[in-house]
């Protein structure tokens, strides 16, 4: 800090990307992270991964449906969202995103439907009443369609890569915000998205599924690799930033040591990334709830840090602007609302759709 210059009056702008934006980036990151975990079972033919794949699919679709709601709510004029489709702007990543995102969600839902179809058919014959009729309707004949699943899997994979690319690049191109500006954003969103999805899988495996050991093992393996990669990437970012004195590396160091060391360094890096990594690598599987929760929290905190704290760094003035999270729709209510919506989707899908497959048909 230069004490020879004191700011008396300067521009302090409030954050204008709100907590809804954090929720969107969080949910969509979890969604595509989980979707990638469905691929071994349903596209690459690894039968022993089916249970993990089904759990991941549940996460991918519930987060994938909730995410666009959060995104539209982050607009200050949500009712005008149709303008995205009337005025396509190829120079804007956000404009591309308005096409990639619906494509991803629609493809994901078709992919999930193809996977659930035979089980819906079975449910239709095992159950009676309304549920049976709706299941029969949804099953549309209910035949197995491994080829179609594969094709849809590849198409969804392509769209998921586009979504991951646009969400990261949208921030990476903003030269005015050196923290976000650079190739680290897309990479870290992807890595932390997979971590969050695997962490959520660890929790749901015990809470709503049958606590399968093999599923836990698979998810722990994913977590170790992706938490490890996250740590390495951040260290690389810090070290190369220091060595080259790049704007993005320097501002990251300031975030970690000066602007908000409590949130970035202590909460995110140490508690929610390093600790679950150490727990899992030391085979502390009994603390699944802790590693799971911390990994999910880590995916969220990383986004909060880049989004909200990133906006607190003034562009022309000194210091780190104040921010306290508002209680209303621009803050806590936004976070609670999207989480509530996600929970509702989980309850609805697990109640009415045999998401665990015919062997775990809910009627049995």
């Amino acid at each position: 800090m230069n004490t020879n210059i004191v700011d008396l009056i300067s521009v302090t702008r409030e954050v204008s990307w709100l907590s809804w934006g954090v929720q969107y980036f969080f949910l969509i990151g979890l969604s595509y992270g989980a979707f990638f975990m469905t691929l071994p079972a349903f596209v690459f033919g690894r039968k022993n991964m089916e249970k993990t794949g089904r759990l991941a699919l549940l996460i991918a679709i519930t987060c994938g449906i909730a995410a666009p709601v959060a995104l539209v709510s982050d607009l200050h004029q949500p009712g005008r969202f149709y303008n995205f489709y009337l005025h396509f702007t190829p120079t804007s990543w956000m404009s591309w995103g308005s096409f990639f995102l619906p494509a991803y969600v629609v493809l994901l839902l078709i992919y999930a439907w193809l996977i659930y179809r035979p089980d819906l058919e079975l449910q239709a014959s095992n159950r009676s009443g309304m549920l049976a009729r709706v299941s029969a309707l949804l099953a549309l004949g209910g035949s197995e369609s491994p080829k179609a699943i594969k094709v849809l899997g590849y198409m969804t994979m392509f769209s998921a890569i586009l979504v991951a690319t646009y969400t990261g690049s949208e921030m990476a191109v903003v030269r005015a915000r050196p923290l976000l500006n650079g190739p680290m954003m897309p990479l870290l969103y992807l890595l932390t998205g997979v971590c969050g999805a695997a962490g959520l899988g660890l929790l749901l495996n015990r809470i709503i599924a049958d606590a399968s050991e093999s599923v836990s093992d698979n998810l722990n393996r994913v977590l170790v690799v992706f938490l490890g990669l996250t740590i390495l990437t951040v260290l690389f970012w810090m070290l190369t930033g220091l060595a080259s004195q790049s704007a993005s590396g320097m501002v990251l160091m300031r975030l970690a040591t000066e602007y908000n060391p409590f949130l970035f360094t202590l909460l995110w890096l140490a508690l929610c990334t390093l600790l679950p990594f150490l727990l899992i690598i030391n085979k502390q599987y009994k603390t699944w709830w802790l590693s799971g929760f911390l990994s999910v929290a880590g995916a969220w905190l990383f986004r909060w840090s880049m989004f909200i704290d990133g906006q607190r760094i003034p562009k022309t003035g000194a210091g780190f602007n104040d921010y306290s999270i508002p209680l209303g729709t621009e803050g806590l209510l936004g976070i609670a609302g999207t989480l509530g919506l996600w929970l509702l989707l989980v309850i609805m899908i697990t109640s009415f759709i045999p998401w665990q497959g015919s062997k775990q048909d809910t009627s049995v």
Partner: protein, 245 residues
Amino acid sequence: MEESRRKFFKGIAVAAGTTALASTARVSAATKRPMGDASHRWGMVVDLRKCIGCQACTVACHMENDVPIGKFRTIVSNYEIKIGNKTRSVVLPRLCNHCEDPPCIPVCPVKATYQRDDGMVVVDNSRCVGCAYCVQACPYDARFINPETNTADKCTFCVHRVEAGLLPACVETCVGGARMFGDLKDPQSQVSKLIAKFPTEGLRPEMKTRPQVYYIGLDDRFNSKVEGTPSLWKREEALGEEVES
């Protein structure tokens, strides 16, 4: 100051007259948006040697443009600096630079932010979805989301006044005569002459935005992000509860 205003009015009267007669100001056929007159390129020169930091421009802008309280289209940054044993005050009026290469435009996902033929960067707030991408992309913190319109807002160079042959409100009211406005394409305009006569600088050249607000007498320590001791007061404390309501 008086002289500069008179000169401007004379110039603008001719320009406005020409505009009215020959109708050179374009309205985009595709979007029906006013595009201005390509024979002008509006710009500003701020002579920092004359600015007294009175914030009359800040107030005039609020009155003219009905800017919500706590938000600013222009403001005069104020710094205290120490040189040896002496303390000095430094002032720096800030506003949208109506950049020649504005990073706020390409990011806008609906083309609501656009540049007119006369160089003014404006927001079509009947189209803006309030995504705030432009707010992030402007390196000068010149933009904000207006809480009353829920759309992006910023200095327009008082386009409505300029089209009526008047000066922007901040220029009109400038007590020290530090803010000057005019046509950069006209070599005889006051702004062009000043730029030809004195060394001038734009803010944040490292951002490669080619700003069209030119400063005379800008100290190198202030042309980019000013890394001083942050403001001693907090925004809400200083602005009071009005900001909250």
